[in-house]
Amino acid sequence: MTFLADGPGASIPLHSWWYKGPGGSSYSDASDFAFMTIFWYSVVWFVALFAITTYFVVKYRRKEGQASEVSPQHNTKIELIWTVLPSLTLVVMFVMGFRGYSDMLVPKGGGLDCDLLAQKWSWSLKYPTGGSNTESLKANELASTTVPIYYFPEETPVKLRLISKDVMHALWVPDFRAKVDILPNRYTKFWFESGKIPAGAKTLMFADITDPFHFLDGVPYVDHAIHCAEYCGDFHSDMAAVIRIIPKDAFAEWLKKGDAALPPVQRGQKIWETNCQTCHSIDGTLRTGPSWKDLFGRTETMTDGSTVVVDDNYTRESIYEPQKRIVGGFGGVIMPTFAGALDADQINALIAYMKSISVNAKEEPDPADPKPDAKPGDKPGDKPEAKPDAKPEAKPAETPKAEPKK
């Protein structure tokens, strides 16, 4: 199945006025077809009605001193015709909608089953292997936040099981013309099957031969934006993600490697990009929450006056039970909990990352790091599009430090 650039819906005149491109999923062209036919139907009616109106306004304009012509005040036959005939066309529209809707709701068998968690204000996808996304994308050079990229295979049914951690959200993929609400108290479902990647599509760049994802170099891809479509608060507009369609074999290999292929520090960085950076910067900038720069290992004063060293345990507690102990100056802020959203491995990766960007981190072997003697910043395969501040400055962990205060 090809991308339906020549599908019936996409071929209707003026389709390009309304849509950026053809629909990206198997059911999308039917939606475009329904919309474009209703559009032209409406244009015909509208033009006819206003031509008649204009004609009447001109022909029957008032002439002072002249009585108006006489005409009947009702005509049962005409009124019946213009009630019944248009109603029949409505039946056609309803049927088009109903059939297209069934296709949108009933997935084809087989394919991939994933879980997608929505929360204020980020997405969290889990593949069947338990892995998550490995990359993120910036909206433009000036954007300070990034959105996760979710790889999916072409021409394969993908079924998402959706749930929210907090308030209502909604998943909208405009390119697929489909949307579903995401609720906090029960699962909702979304599925798609992408068409074949068209010839001439852009290709990925992973030129560095030591990059664990080098196998993706030169692979063609198509991106589709995900937007949150149910108002959910301050960063509702920024709650986006990208579905990136790649060929099946490339995807199979990517899935095998997943984010388990990434070393903990880089894995932690990816998790930060997707889940944390809206509120926590890594360059010292003040956002809704404290910056992570030099945070790990520092002694902080809490809102109740007590002091705490930001260590593994406090970090884990802040992620799972954020209201327990809050750093002074942030008492009014409600950080959402990530219990259920981030598992222990991901926490460990985050801790490794936080250590890597903090001058205050003690030199201790990272329990999750398979190569305990590797230093942060030493990792091969930092991707070209990784942000500059991801590379820590002079290796702090190498410097012997004064005994941390207990």
Partner: protein, 608 residues
Amino acid sequence: MTTLDHSGHPSTPAHGGHHDEPYYTGKGGVWPTIVDWASTVDHKKLGVMYLTAILVLFFLGGVAALAVRTELLEPVTTVTTITASGQAVTRTEGQLFNPGKVDPVTGEVSYPADLGNNYYNRLFTMHGAIMVFMVIVPGIPASLGNFFLPLMLGAKDVAFPRLNLLSWYVYTLGSLFGVLAIAYHGVDTGWTFYTPYSTTTDAGHWRVVYMILAAFTLGFSSILTGLNFVVTVHKLRAPGMGWFDMPLFCWAIYATAIIQVLATPVIGITLLLLVFERVFRVGIFDPGLGGDPVLYQHFFWFYSHPVVYVMILPGMGVISDVIAVHSRKPIFGYRAIAFASLGIAGVAFIVWGHHMFASMSEMASVVFSALTFLVAIPTAVKIFNWIATMYKGSIAMTTPMIYALIFLFLFAIGGLTGLPLATLNTDLHLHDSYFVVAHFHYVMFGGTIVALLAGLHHWWPKMFGKMYNQKAANIGALLVFVGFNVTFFTQFFLGTQGMPRRYASYPAEFQIYHVISTYGSYILGIGFMWHLLVFIYSLAAGPKAKDNPWGGLTLEWVAASPPTEHNFDHEPIVTHGPYDYDTQVPPKWDPKDWPLPDPAKVAAAHRH
């Protein structure tokens, strides 16, 4: 129109004098006049007070809208720089207002995007809540309905004048609650208050509760007005006026009033439960306590869908009257329009689920989609009837007629764009996008507000006894028409191309559409200011209006311009229909100036 002395009336007009004066005549002194207006049960004064309040709140909601559109001129971008002290600070571009945040340690000021976004969220909520609850729902019924329903029926007042005054005070109380919420920096839930967001946001503050109570209180005002109007139509028609002799504006007000009475209590209990949820955490809508957020949506939309017909039906009633009078033609298919109004009111109650296709079960969605198409039918029938009315008419391009034509244009677009929203698969793309925003602005703004403008221009001479400058008003109409289409037609394209609603920022590729839309909104704003100036000038220095400048055949044109306190000197008796232009000379017109068609031809035509 013949009138008769009504014998047997127990009153004796022993207190003479004010029977000949306009209803708004002062009572000798500023304070007595204020007390008189504050304690009046005269439907005309109440109508004028409602009109003033509604226009003031419309202005407030409009300013909020212009602020929202101005914010959307640029997408929000965040730039991080390092200051001389080595501290990184963020500056946010493209936000209308960002108060900034001071770092407790270093004292540097940063501008994280969420502060500005929060202001935007409060602005669009304010716009929606004011416009829906305080402007459009009371809108035409409370202002023109209050003023003209009794006059058109030949009555001295509505059925329960004191209840009418109570309704006005409840309205002011509700609006005060809303303004209070806004004065405390407003609410960021959206006018729909979806749970769990509305029950958890802004914890520790009372302004969400104030806003919810505002809507609750305004609902009471709506119920009382509706109740009053239903009984008025049933009980206070002049002798000789059967149901099918009423002007279509009265039919429209009647259908609206029925919806108001039956639907508003449901939002009442919904909002009450929302307050309990927020204050006592009863848990009905809270999933953490076993509740269901989708239940809230069902409760909410069970009222809020019928209420959109409360908004549009009176507008349609105005248009029926304006087209008939300014075409000097009987309305085509009077009974069809009357029954279509009732039909719309009935179907209104069974289609609420079409707001929830993205969160309802498949079966429910299919049923609601089918039912939703039903409501298109009576609506389309009305449009055909209005156009057919103009056939062989004598059409004058007066300001009211121009606005009636603008109504037809804009409402047709609004109605037609409802079709892809009723269609299930296209709705899953368009729901919660700018396409929906454009659709409802076309029907609510291009429909109801334009109809209000048509009605104001049509009945202004009657209400205030002054005429306005029609050429100037027509310029205003042109500004409104152009500004409206530039603002909102652009938004249809934004929607289909993927722009969600309630977004403070957006991908850069949408910017050109937003810029066009915003400049359109400025033209629209200028158009309304223009109209305001034209009306103020009319009141201050306009020429005195004739009692029946347009040649209307309905009873309000029998009364003086403006009417006296008791509307009519003697109770009118109705001997002809409201639009019998083929056979009647309008009241206060000299038959020499009003040539009638040949009676033989009239008889022949009516034999059909």
